[in-house]
Symmetry: C2
Subunit: 122 residues, 2 copies
């Protein structure tokens, strides 16, 4: 199966949806694809949707943070949306600030958040 | 690999992105997931993004049409976006109207098209 983490473009915003736990190789491919797409498509913001993830362990939390940092390095604003209730509770219990990015409940709020941040920055 | 075709919710619209050719079992799972999600999430429109597909053969064209029909049956407006230039040429050469749904160039236009259609219908 030629699996790829999906990347959708909506105006200047790239939307990506992590569907499942990723292997090391998939993480690396995903992050490279995303950074390349930010450049190619002239995107100024990225929304990472994790509503399909029922479990986020410390590895996946780190993957999400690293991806956000990589996207910021190439100049894109980042938000994470769709954190399931159980995931939120687990992250709190893990006792760390796992997401040092903006997090929102749903995709609409994430789009609004990154657009507001980009507008402020311009 | 627990592969799922992604489903994103943006307001009343579900956005799905077909990443790769699907097997029969995956098609059936995808269509059921989509129809179920339309009901659960009270969606009134669906956008099917196929920008990740470099090739659309007659099987995949039928899958996309059938999926659109299933979504319409449960009351959702449907648009297909992201048809690659080579895919467009192939579809024309196949000589059939393969997509009996609205098709648009990009995701923004698809969202605008389904929203306009839903507004007209209300």
């Amino acid at each position: 199966m030629n699996f790829k983490t999906p990347l959708l473009q909506l105006g200047d915003v790239l939307i990506t949806s992590i569907q499942t736990d990723l292997s090391d190789a998939q993480v690396s491919e995903f992050q490279q694809d995303l950074v390349r797409a930010i450049g190619l498509k002239n995107a100024n913001a990225v929304v990472i949707d994790i509503s399909a993830l029922d479990v986020v362990d410390s590895f996946m939390a780190r993957v999400i943070n690293d991806t956000a940092r990589a996207a910021r390095l190439v100049g894109a604003e980042v938000a994470v949306c769709g954190i399931q209730p159980y995931v939120a509770m687990t992250l709190v219990e893990m006792g760390r600030q796992l997401f040092d990015v903006q997090t929102t409940f749903n995709l609409e709020q994430a789009l609004a958040a990154v657009k507001a941040a980009v507008d402020v920055r311009l």
